[in-house]
């Protein structure tokens, strides 16, 4: 079941096209990565999902029906550029935002206390926001985003402004919310965290969806037929020996201590993997072999470059 379906959405501003026929589906209960270079149209898409702006064409389905104003109380959004009312007290402010999301006052107060206890910040309740540090304000902001128990959470660069300890805390909270059944859309430039927590991704470049799918599958299949060899021996001899079956060689030091090397190569079409293993076994002392898993970072860069060259 998809909690969110974006179907052929386009949106133009006077001078440029922000979204061009973008479609994607977010399955319920997953963490969905929304990736793309700066200015690709991610924020516009997020605003459309949040019912802040309307698409020029196409439609957005939420929980199976056309997205309406009433659905925004089931969505929690933490924007990349975020702030709070500086002169307002922390508790009052959190209540204000909770009530805007449709939570009755007493209920909001109760669950706000729970969150403050969990983060051990109950004594911040009567502080003004301007008295808090940036990291503290970010925590409040996170609580405000999730307080009304939204079905769909949208985090845009949630870790910026957090130290590693608090970033870890936040990551665990996000995963816990997922465990409890929430769906998370996660937009970031930090590819390591995408590998870590996203189930599916969509990569948007220059207003178009250029890559969608399951993270593990993409990483395995994106470059296709790539393998890692772990060995002791001479890189050049191995590469020359492998020429008949492989290309696109990349050598790196796999293990500094034991002096092992790693060669990543692409298996030529029609070549057999067992031939490659046999050749390698003859030329160097082979320690291991595995399917090469590309990093999201490499995939991001390559996908964007290829898309640019096609246009």
């Amino acid at each position: 079941m998809d909690i969110l379906q974006v179907e052929n959405v386009s949106k133009s501003y006077s001078s440029h096209r922000a979204l061009d026929n973008v479609s994607l589906s977010v399955p319920e209960g997953q963490v969905y990565g929304l990736l793309g270079p700066n200015g690709a149209g991610k924020t516009t898409l997020i605003r459309i999902i949040n019912h802040i702006t309307a698409p020029d064409s196409g439609r957005v389905l939420f929980d199976g029906h056309q997205l309406t104003e009433a659905d925004v109380c089931h969505i929690g959004y933490l924007p990349e550029e975020r702030g709070l009312y500086k002169k307002m007290k922390v508790g009052e402010q959190a209540l204000f935002f909770a009530r805007l999301k449709g939570l009755p006052k007493h209920e909001a107060t109760r669950s706000l206390r729970e969150w403050f206890e969990r983060f051990d910040i109950l004594d911040w309740w009567d502080k003004k926001v301007e008295e808090l540090s940036k990291g503290m304000a970010q925590k409040i902001q996170f609580i405000i985003t999730v307080l009304h128990r939204p079905k769909l959470l949208i985090f845009d660069e949630p870790f910026s402004g957090f130290d590693p300890i608090n970033a870890e805390l936040l990551k665990n909270e996000i995963l816990r919310l997922k465990e409890e059944g929430a769906t998370v859309i996660f937009s970031t430039h930090n590819m390591a965290s995408v590998e870590e927590i996203c189930d599916n991704i969509t990569l948007i470049n220059k207003s178009r969806n250029i890559l969608s799918g399951n993270v593990d599958e993409i990483r395995r299949e994106y470059f296709g037929n790539r393998y890692d060899l772990l060995y002791d021996g001479d890189d050049r001899i191995l590469m020359e020996a492998l020429q008949p079956v492989g290309n696109e060689f990349e050598v790196s030091a796999a293990d500094q201590l034991q002096g092992r090397r790693r060669l990543t190569f692409h298996l030529k079409d029609g070549a057999e993997l067992r031939d490659a293993i046999a050749i390698a076994n003859d030329s160097v002392r082979l320690a291991g072999m595995s399917e090469s898993i590309a990093s999201m970072n490499d995939i991001f860069i390559r996908a964007v470059r290829e898309d640019e060259s096609r246009r």
Binding site: Y13, S14, R47, N50, I52, A54, D56, E69, V72, C73, I75, Y77, P79, E81, R82, G83, L84, Y85, K86, K87, M88, F96, F97, R99, L100, K101, Q141, I144
Partner: protein, 436 residues
């Protein structure tokens, strides 16, 4: 509670709870009262002790006719010289009247004093001696029944305007209407400018610290704008109502206590149309002014009408301020675009001056109908008692004006709040209106 209600509540409470709001709201009327009462208070302190003047009268006929008053006492002196008279206990000054003063007034009086003398005292002395000399000269013509003739020719005319088109015979001072009209215009002008800019700066602040990005994920941008405008309008009305109540209370209780009983009797006399009962010292204009100030019902009507024009005018102007605030990133960039709102307010003020001087003229009429100038011009005209239909028509047009302006501003606002960087031109603002 609806979302817009929650926004209104926040905007209202944030401002009303501020110390600066509470202090200005409570202190302003007291300050105004103090300013009005200041001259009287100063007078009562300055002239608290009477000046005693020793008179060396070389004519020997003037001194017996010199009448002492509460604050100016004359006494004869046995001393021949000024210096010895001045050293005497209880003598503040010495007046020397030359022998030939009756025949030759230019001979001049000499007034010796230890400290500075006041204009009031000097005028009091010369006035008295002038009338004594005039009386003596008149007597020299030997006219029969002189006293009767003098008292019968004495005149003290007064003028009261009575509106022929009104049912009640209430008297109306146009000088006072003018004053009230101008005062109300300036109050409105200040409210529109201060509270309008409050809306603008608060939007710029929200945009600047990016809290807006968070809020609009729960509330439609236009709802947020309306919530802010209505919340701030309620703050303005609250202040206006508190001031109205305080001023009414002062008019009803404090003012009568401050004004001497005989003056209040005069006020009652004028209001009932019995001018001959009025004590001759009082000016009719001032009495009418006091009468109008003391008329609580009248004040409440004026304040209520002013509040209605304030609210309608504020909705119109603050939506311009809101649109400007949404379009810029910081207050410095706003100054140029603010003129879109400030110039019409200034024009309104200028035309209000014209209208107060000629409240029934055609300029006054048309400018009090045109929505951008009508709040201030109408408020300047209202104290003169203009027909009800004109007020009603002006309000209807103003309401149409603010509905249109709120709609336009909403269009600009919803685009402007997401625009960062370059300061937009008026042309760009117009283009934003046409966005889907």
């Amino acid at each position: 509670m609806s979302k817009i209600g929650i926004v209104i509540e926040r905007e209202y409470m944030e401002r009303v709870k501020k110390k600066s709001f509470i202090i200005t709201t409570l202190l302003m009327p007291l300050l105004m009262l103090l300013l009005m009462a200041m001259p009287a208070l100063i007078m009562s302190y300055v002239d608290s002790s009477a000046t005693t003047v020793a008179v060396i009268d070389n004519t020997r006929v003037i001194l017996p006719e010199l009448r002492s008053s509460e604050d100016l006492r004359f006494c004869p002196t046995v001393d021949a010289t000024v210096d010895s008279a001045l050293t005497r206990e209880g003598i503040d000054a010495v007046l020397v009247i030359p022998e030939n003063i009756i025949d030759n007034p230019r001979a001049g009086l000499k007034y010796y004093t230890n400290g500075p003398s006041s204009v009031g005292t000097e005028a009091g002395i010369t006035d008295r001696i002038n009338s004594i000399i005039e009386a003596r000269r008149l007597k020299a013509y030997n006219i029969e029944n002189l006293d009767e003739i003098l008292s019968s020719v004495k005149s003290d005319v007064s003028l009261t305007t009575v509106r022929a088109d009104k049912d009640s015979e209430e008297s109306n001072s146009s000088m006072f209407s003018y004053g009230i009209g101008i005062a109300m215009t300036f109050t409105l002008y200040m409210f529109l400018l201060i509270y309008g800019q409050m809306v603008m700066t608060s939007i710029i602040e929200e945009k600047g610290n990016r809290v807006l990005e968070v809020v609009v994920s729960s509330v439609k941008p236009v709802q947020l704008m309306m919530g802010k405008i209505i919340g701030v309008a309620l703050v303005a009305v609250t202040q206006m109502v508190i001031w109205g109540v305080l001023i009414s209370v002062m008019s009803a209780f404090v003012l009568p206590a401050l004004i001497p009983a005989d003056a209040m009797a005069d006020v009652a006399a004028v209001q009932s149309g019995n001018f001959d009962q009025v004590g001759d010292a009082s000016s009719i204009e001032i009495i009418q002014a006091i009468g109008m100030l003391g008329n609580v019902g009248n004040i409440i009507t004026l304040m209520a009408l002013m509040t209605v024009f304030l609210v309608f005018g504020f909705l119109l102007y603050s939506s311009i301020f809101a649109a400007v605030g949404s379009a810029v990133d910081n207050i410095q960039d706003a100054s140029q675009l603010t003129s879109l709102a400030v110039f019409p307010i200034l024009f309104g003020l200028i035309f209000a001056m014209v209208a107060a001087a000629d409240p029934m003229g055609s300029v006054a009429f048309w400018m009090s109908m045109f929505p951008l100038t009508s709040p201030m011009v109408m408020v300047a005209r209202i104290p003169f008692g203009i027909p009800g239909w004109e007020i009603a028509l002006s309000l209807v047009l103003l309401a149409a004006g603010f509905v249109a302006m709120v709609w336009l501003a909403g269009k600009i606002y919803r685009v402007g709040i997401f625009m960062y960087g370059k300061k937009p031109s008026v042309k760009e603002l117009v283009r934003w209106i046409r966005y889907k």
